[in-house]
Symmetry: C2
Subunit: 116 residues, 2 copies
Amino acid sequence: MLGHHWLIELKDCQVDLLSEVAEVARIMEDAVAISGATKVESRFHQFNPYGVSGVIIIMESHFTIHTWPEHAYAAVDIFTCGESIDTAKAVTFLQAAFGASTVQTQLFERGVRPSS
Amino acid sequence: MLGHHWLIELKDCQVDLLSEVAEVARIMEDAVAISGATKVESRFHQFNPYGVSGVIIIMESHFTIHTWPEHAYAAVDIFTCGESIDTAKAVTFLQAAFGASTVQTQLFERGVRPSS
């Protein structure tokens, strides 16, 4: 297996934090730092009438976020390779930072070799 | 449900195409166009000794790729909202463009409302 890919559903978030690109970028950059990942570069984009998309390329793969303020919802992905990233710590931080009352995570292994 | 998220495993690819950031970027930009998505911005990064990471933010969410030339493998994500993107067409194109002999896809629904 080459990569760990976490799909993270943040529900019932604090809506104002999902609406502003600067806030979303700050929280995601902090999550990267807290996880121990090494940022390479990032792009964040404000949509009209609302919503933010952002990606941070890290040495170990990526963090992404898409927000739907109208549903108080954000979809976050954390894709890592290697064993050095503390994804659980980043998830705990993201839940607190966005004030999410519900968080659901699913983990997928990427690049699994066929058993044959 | 707010987003469709495809996890795409491209295996036994043409190794030279996975190694060069310019090639990977060109193929991914073409895949975005072929799918009918609208590009907002993109970032690609060449790693040493090998491997490329790239993200394209689209109006409808994102395309990402991470390549492992040493395993002839690429992990691609296509995350879309709305019904206008032809992801299957993009996957077919990517398989051909990277010369992948095996492609595995998994689809996840993001932002599904709780049934309660």
